[in-house]
């Protein structure tokens, strides 16, 4: 009975593990302690962080303000020390103005001046007169008094002049006797007391400030003289250092008293002691700002804008604050409301304040990094404090939570043990009332569970028997499956070859369940074998027949391409012929043109010939007419010679008459004498006429000879003209013949031209036809080529098919061949 029970418990354990995985659940839930801690972080941590942040920002600001204030205070302290020292020093000369001995000495001096009429003397003369003593009249007691006072009050020198500026008394001998030419003296004479700018005093051989005090008659307020007391800068330096050195300084904090006239620091106090440094901290920029502050503070009234507007834009100041610039307040009580200018420049923080009535500015400076580090230190302290509060609180919470959770944890461990199967476990009744109650309830629960498990175990036992039976059936089923699988494996092994093309495989049929499937495979493979065998035969046949065709077609293709080539050549020749025919036509046309021109020329020649013949004919006519005229001229000359011979006869008769007349005259003597002269004269004339007629006769004979010659020439010309006419006629005939011939040529050539044109057209047509033929034969060639190509590819495909089919193995033995063939 025990064994099944144990098994049952184990089953329950398993079930429990499956349904309630305790270990896993712990990861998903948060323990009480963690929960407390988380709440603590939210409840305490966040407010603390906020408080830290807020407190830090508040304190940081506060620290910075405090440091600022301390910086200003330091500057103001230095200012106060210096102003007070100066004020105090100024009281000494003031008190002297009411000293009777001083007044007496001045009055004595004035009297002496008046008595000796020194007002009229020039300064160099006065100087030379009193060069040894530099004193109007010796006054050892007063000199002694001044000496002691100077020593006690830290003055380097004190001296007194009367109303003309001549020395009356001194603590030590000054460089000059007459002071009326000095600027300070004239200023003192015209106004009240004042403090001069720092200067080097030759007589006291020291760098110092002069306190100038005019002396007036207490009763009449008449100007009597001047007291000058020189306070050395070294004293101011000393006193400033003395008072400041014990005050609290930051490491980088420094206070400078700056002389704005000389643009240098008269003293620099940093930390505990004076530093020998005359350079202004912050350099030229700060020097310029001190200048501005000094000049503005001298005015009776000014505004913050006035200062700010004067600061050059190239000096970048930040966080500028100007204190106490309400003019009325400054006016009413300048001591209580001193002017301060605070700002950040580069890495330092500055506070400047002017010393009233002087050219001094006190400048206090501190490194900003030190201000920041002070704030940072504060932050660190604050953080440490917060962190320690947080840690302490956490520890307290942890201890408290442990106290509360420990009994609960113990109970939880017990519960887990029970859950993992140990039902013997019982919880201890410890801790608070709640945990004790909880433990008690847990114990009851475990007992109840134990009882119910026993009940369940019995039911499970019965179920187990049923389960075992089911297992047996399942095993049987499994065996059967394995058998079938083995059969399948055998079958696959048998037919595996088929997948790689071996169709000779066959599967062995078995007694098993799927034996029949094996035969089914056999039947399929048999069919495949037959098909493949048929395909093999067919592809071989295709291969052979295509191979035969291919040769023929490729031959055809070759021939077609040759034909195409030949036709192309023919086309070229025909084109050449066409071209020559066109040339012939062209030439013929040119010849026709030439013939036509010749014909035209011949026609023109004919016309000219006609004209020539006509003109020759006209010439002949003219010659005929001329011959006639010449003949009539010859006749006329013969008439002339007849007339001349008649004239000659007349002359001879006249001569005879004259001779007769002279004889008669001679017979008549004297009276006929005159008549004899006339007869003689007539005789002479007749002789002359006879001679003239003779001459005319010879001329005419000459003319007649020439006329005869002309007639002869004319006749020759006439015959020549006739010959010319004949020649021209002949030429005209030849030209006519030429014309006819050229007309014929023209006709012939034109007919040639027409013929060649039609020839050219014909040959053009032939060319086109030939080209068409060439294209057709080209196409034929291409088609036969592509047919050849397709056949080649067909052969390739057939070969591929053959090799693919060859992959199938169909023959194993002689017996199977029979099957494949049928």
């Amino acid at each position: 009975m025990e064994t099944p029970l144990d098994e049952n418990i184990e089953t329950i354990k398993e079930n429990k593990d499956e349904t309630t995985p305790i270990v896993a659940s712990q990861k998903n839930y948060v323990s009480l302690r963690k929960q407390l801690l988380y709440s603590l972080i939210y409840a305490l941590g966040i407010p603390l962080a906020v408080a830290t942040f807020w407190g830090y920002s508040f304190l940081e600001k506060n620290t910075k303000v405090t440091i600022d204030r301390r910086l200003s205070k330091k500057a103001l302290l230095a200012k106060d020390i210096l102003s007070l020292s100066l004020e105090q020093a100024a009281t000494i000369p003031l008190s002297m103005t009411s000293n009777p001995a001083v007044l007496e000495a001045i009055k004595e001096g004035n009297k002496k001046v008046v008595a000796e009429n020194m007002t009229a003397l020039s300064v160099p003369l006065l100087e030379s007169n009193f060069s040894t003593t530099k004193l109007l009249q010796p006054n050892a007691a007063l000199n002694n008094y001044l000496q002691i006072t100077a020593k006690n009050s830290n003055f380097s020198e004190i001296f007194i002049t009367e109303s003309l500026g001549l020395n009356v008394a001194y603590s030590q001998q000054p460089s000059d006797f007459a002071q009326q030419d000095e600027a300070w003296w004239q200023k003192a004479k015209n106004s009240s007391r004042y403090i001069s700018d720092p200067d080097f005093d030759a007589s006291s051989n020291a760098y110092g400030i002069s306190l100038i005090q005019p002396i007036k008659d207490p009763k009449t307020q008449q100007f009597l003289g001047v007291i000058k007391a020189v306070l050395p800068i070294s004293y101011l330096k000393e006193i400033t250092t003395y008072y400041l050195k014990d005050t609290d300084f930051f490491d980088s904090q420094q206070v400078q008293v700056i002389d704005t006239q000389a643009k240098k620091a008269i003293t620099t106090i940093g930390g505990a002691e004076a530093i020998e440094n005359t350079a202004i901290i912050g350099g030229d920029a700060i020097a310029r700002i001190t200048d501005i502050l000094q000049s503005v503070s001298q005015k009776p009234q000014f505004t913050p804008e006035e200062i700010l507007s004067q600061i050059p834009p190239d000096i970048k100041l930040r966080k500028v604050t100007i204190n106490n610039l309400i003019a009325e307040q400054v006016q009413s009580s300048p001591e209580n409301n001193p002017l301060t200018l605070s700002f950040n420049y580069q890495d330092k923080k500055y506070t400047l304040t002017p010393i009233p009535n002087t050219s001094f500015i006190v400048a206090a400076s501190i490194d900003r990094s030190e201000v920041q580090s002070a704030a940072n230190q504060l932050l660190i302290r604050f953080l440490i404090l917060i962190l320690s509060v947080f840690v302490i609180t956490t520890v307290v919470i942890l201890i408290l939570s442990r106290k509360i959770t420990n009994p609960l944890r113990e109970l939880a461990v017990k519960a887990q043990e029970a859950a993992s199967g140990n039902l013997e476990v019982r919880a201890d009744l410890i801790g608070t009332t709640e945990t004790i109650t909880l433990a008690h309830s847990f114990n009851n629960l475990v007992e109840k569970v134990e009882q119910s498990i026993e009940k369940q175990a019995r039911i499970l036992h019965n179920a187990e028997i049923t389960r075992r039976e089911a297992v047996a059936v399942a095993e049987e089923q499994q065996e059967k499956n394995a058998r079938i699988q083995q059969e399948l494996l055998d079958l696959l092994g048998d037919v595996e070859g088929a997948s790689t093309g071996d169709l000779t495989v066959r599967s062995r049929i078995s007694d098993g369940e799927i034996g029949i499937v094996a035969d089914f495979f056999n039947s399929i493979i048999e069919s495949l074998r037959e098909i493949v065998a048929q395909v093999k035969v067919a592809s071989e046949q295709v291969n052979v027949s295509v191979g035969e065709n291919q040769e023929t077609i490729s031959q055809l293709a070759t021939e077609a391409s040759q034909q195409a080539n030949q036709i192309t050549q023919t086309v070229t020749s025909v084109e050449q012929i066409t071209q020559s025919i066109q040339e012939v036509a062209h030439n013929a046309q040119e010849a026709a043109k030439v013939a036509h021109i010749a014909s035209n020329k011949a026609e023109l020649g004919g016309e000219s010939m006609e004209l020539t013949v006509n003109s020759i004919k006209q010439l002949r006519g003219t010659i005929d007419q001329t011959a006639d005229k010449v003949k009539s001229l010859g006749e006329a000359s013969q008439d002339i010679s007849r007339v001349i011979s008649l004239i000659n006869q007349i002359a001879m008769q006249t001569n005879l008459l004259s001779i007769n007349a002279s004889i008669e005259a001679a017979r008549a003597g004297e009276e006929g004498k005159g008549f004899a002269v006339v007869a003689e004269e007539v005789g002479e004339l007749a002789t002359q006429s006879s001679e003239a007629t003779k001459e005319v006769g010879s001329i005419i004979a000459k003319i007649q000879t020439e006329i005869y010659q002309v007639v002869e020439a004319m006749e020759i010309g006439l015959s020549q003209a006739e010959e010319g006419t004949q020649l021209v006629e002949n030429t005209k005939d030849s030209l006519l013949q030429i014309m006819e011939v050229s007309y014929q040529i023209d006709h012939l050539v034109q007919s040639i031209s027409k013929t060649t044109v039609s020839q050219a057209e014909t040959s053009q047509n032939v060319t086109q036809l030939m080209e068409q033929i060439a294209q057709v034969s080209e196409q034929t060639s291409q088609v036969s080529q592509s047919a050849s190509n397709s056949l080649e590819s067909t052969v390739a495909i057939a070969k591929d098919l053959q090799s693919s089919v060859g992959a199938f193995k169909v023959e194993r033995t002689a017996e199977t061949t029979d099957i494949s063939n049928t």
Binding site: R506, I509, E513, G515, I516, D519, N522, S523, E815
Partner: protein, 121 residues
Amino acid sequence: MTAKVLVVDDTPSIRELIANFLRKSGYQVIEANNGKEALEKALSNVPDIVVTDVVMPEMNGFELCRSLKKNPVTQNSRIVVCTSKNQDIDRLWGMKQGADIYLTKPFTEEEMIEAIQSVAV
């Protein structure tokens, strides 16, 4: 004329048993050890009836059926399949391969004779 019966079985005892039954009933019996041998003998002798087992080496009974039906010489021979494969699918397949009678082992003499007679006409 007595019918010629080819008995094919790779188990000699069963083959002998069938042969005896048939001889007793007056049939002429030819015996073959497996399908291949049976096909050769069928081609040479041309039996009227073939009685064959299914599970055999070299060539099984169904293959024999197909070969006989494919060959014109033997395609008219009647076929009786006699096997221990007794499932419906086996019977269906056997009839498809050309069997005329599908007889399952174990069988009685009467059953065998009756089957032969039914196909012998």
